[in-house]
């Protein structure tokens, strides 16, 4: 009887100790949590509050109402989605063949070729945007060589418009698509392909009907990252769009820098945040977020 009681007490003590340990280990995250609270949760929460303040300082939906009524804002959201969709689509079209190529190479050569993806990834986005500005301008290298080779006669308007924005953004986003896609392609079990060949599939059939469907989760993860990042993009459209491509993040900045209008900016920011989180939430039902975040860089 006593023996049972002691063992019971011991069990309880052990359980408590395990609980304490779980908690104190979790406590190691507290410095990080505190700084995130101060520099992210508090400021973004404040923006939420500001977005519901009218010009007279009363709680209201004025800012959101104005956003709904204004044609300009509708156009800005449409532009943002258009640019994000086009960037994602182009990245998938260009990134897929390269990721596939890399996944088929022997490890050593693949690692060297991967450097061509990692190098732009590590290079400042501002520097890359600048490079495109120099290359694509009226008297830039691309126009000069295009005319020199007789491909076109007049300088093409390649920059300060949607073309330039898309070229720059696709170049900047490609690594974000290729790296997760490459990772998932590497983990495809090649026995499936052998089995397909064994059952009489031609190489082309095996690719389209076996490899391609198996690579979809990776493609989806990469495309999701590109789309989310593109929605909030600012630097590249601001420099390469030449004022013709206005995206949400740019309008937020403009409202603050030019008009010091915090209400309108906050409301725009809140909508952008909710769209981003909504997309992430819906996607997390189809693909694990850990897969998206793990393994790259």
């Amino acid at each position: 009887m006593t023996g049972e009681l002691t063992s019971h007490l011991n069990q309880n003590a052990l359980k408590r100790q395990a609980q304490r340990e779980r908690l104190s280990l979790l406590g190691l995250t507290s410095p990080a949590i505190i700084i995130i609270m101060i520099a992210m949760v508090l400021p973004v929460g404040w923006l939420f509050y500001l977005s519901f303040l009218s010009d007279e300082g009363v709680i209201s939906l004025t800012n959101y109402q104005r956003m709904l009524d204004s044609k300009a804002y509708t156009r800005i959201f449409l532009t943002t989605f258009k640019v994000a969709f086009l960037t994602t689509g182009l990245c998938a079209l260009i990134g897929y063949p390269l990721a596939y190529f890399l996944s088929q190479l022997p490890e050593r050569i693949a690692n060297i070729c991967l450097l061509t993806v990692l190098l732009p990834f590590w290079t400042s986005l501002l520097v890359r945007t600048y490079a495109w500005l120099v290359l694509l301008q009226r008297k830039g290298l691309v126009n000069e060589w295009g005319i020199g080779l007789g491909l076109w006669d007049e300088p093409l308007p390649l920059v300060h418009n949607l073309n330039g924005t898309l070229i720059g953004m696709v170049h900047i986003m490609l690594p974000f698509l290729i790296l997760p896609l490459y990772g998932s392609m590497k983990s495809i079990d090649t026995n499936y392909l052998k089995a397909a060949a064994n059952l009489g599939a031609t190489p082309t059939q095996a690719f389209w009907r076996v490899f391609m469907p198996l690579s979809f989760p990776g493609l989806f993860a990469g495309a999701l990252i590109v789309f989310i990042l593109s929605l909030g993009f600012f630097v590249t459209p601001a420099i390469l769009g030449g004022g013709k491509v206005i995206m949400v993040a740019m309008q937020i900045t403009r409202n603050i820098e030019l008009f010091f209008n915090w209400g309108a900016s906050s409301a725009l920011g809140v909508v952008l945040l909710l769209i981003t989180l909504g997309i992430l939430y819906i996607s997390s039902r189809f693909v694990s977020l850990d897969n998206i975040l793990g393994g790259h860089r």
């Binding site: 190489p203 989310i228 993040a249 981003t276």
Partner: protein
Amino acid sequence: MLNWFKKPASETQITHGARLWLYLLAGIIMLLLVLPTVIVIPMSFSESQYLEFPPREWSLRWYEFYFGSEAWMSATRTSLLAGFLTMLVATPIGTMAAYGLATSTHALVRFVFLLMITPIMIPVILIAIGAFYVYVQLGIVNTMLGLVVAHTILALPLVLIVVSAALKSFDMSQERAARSLGASRLQAFFLVTLPQIRFSVITAALLAFLTSFDEVIVAMFVSGGDNATLTRNMFNALRDQIDPTIASISTIMILVSTSLLLLTQFLGRKKNK
């Protein structure tokens, strides 16, 4: 050589010859990924205002201008210091958090992990204007403190992801063995675990530095005056016109990030041995 064309290239027995188009296409894409950035390097040595390629006349004029300008030099110092401080803050905090999340089995682990990676999932512009608003109230706009705090939360998720990945492949029973032999938890971490994940921690630190050094949007709002960063000044210069000085600064920045990347590759190779 001809034999190579007929050799099977994959499990489906497709030949290299039949795949030639893929190799070509991939080659072109890889060139397009690298060339646009690299081409800035020779252009920065051009004498002309218009940045020719290849330069008709070579000169160091844009570098002289950059190194001679007090504004650019001060911005460079600010960026280097901010990057360095961000690295010093984000690396230990992020490593601690990664270790805590990897070892604790508390119910909140998943939630805390999600909270900690949010800064790279949500649009940076929100963090930028939010921080700006709060900093105005606190009177720390245009200070190094404010800049480093904001950059730290952008760097934290990357540190967390890199170190967590390393801890995942680390065999924790080694640490338990050390503790059963009398080491405290802290000793076990520093003497057993840390030495084995050190290359990942260094990679994470370099990433933290680069995150701050390359960051534009937050810096645009919360840095300024004597504490304006290099990227902030570059962005402002670019909005007006194509200043050739930017080409020389870009070249230096490309060299910095390339050498950091090669360093991590080198460390990674060492780790695998």
